[in-house]
Symmetry: C2
DNA sequence: ACTAGAAGTAACCAAATGGTTACTTATACG
DNA sequence: CGTATAAGTAACCATTTGGTTACTTCTAGT
């Protein structure tokens, strides 16, 4: 995955409203923009922008069906990120704070 | 983890520069702000702000050591996010696009 | 005590984000 | 055909973000 794409995914998830959209769409796949906006206080256009942001990041996929747009979550980007990190940080997971712990111990010795 | 905290973590990671800071600090634990800023074109203050942003999100931890500040990565927030999402989406991982696939098939029937 | 170097703060600026209202387009349906 | 409804576009505004330069503070070392 390209860095720009990573930016989009993380940026998309960095909003409680958008994470909530993900929850809603995951729980009622095929729902419409209007359906989703029922769950929010904000204007329909506000919600639309959040949905578009998620779609732009690849986290939501949609199908035009007549005058409606049906929404689905797409977890592929999350899986890619997850794999990338598990790779990059594999040796760190076991002892996440090892470096810090050592430093703290050194600091305490003084 | 609180929603605000999630915002901070995702927001922090939604920047190539900050992800790169994470890489640098992970690869040389205990390095200083000045050390990190050597890896960048931008001004030291620019880098400092990125580091503070990461620290604020809990992804970087630092220890004051004399006039220096030593930096360490902290993967705990990542682990929390990872666990939360694998829980929430557990039943979806296996067939990530199931909902969408069904919809596409239905669409194709028409 | 003095100086130099690491870090932090303040003020500023341009661009991006998150929301609004008003208007337009396209489609379903009586 | 005509109308109501789902979606999308445009323009606008306030706030946040991402960077800068200039200045300040603290500490190490001579």
């Amino acid at each position: 995955m390209k860095e720009k794409q990573l930016d989009l995914v993380f940026q998309a998830l960095a909003s409680e409203a958008r994470r909530y959209v993900m929850d809603v769409v995951r729980d009622s796949p095929g729902c419409t923009v209007a359906d989703v906006s029922l769950h929010f206080e904000m204007s329909r256009i506000g919600v639309l922008k959040h949905i578009n942001c998620l779609e732009n990041a690849g986290l939501i996929v949609s199908l035009k069906n007549g005058r409606e747009r049906q929404l689905y979550v797409n977890l592929a980007p999350l899986q890619v990120i997850h794999e990338r990190w598990s790779d990059q940080y594999r040796s760190f997971w076991a002892s996440r704070l090892t470096g810090l712990k050592r430093a703290v111990e050194q600091a305490e010795e003084k």
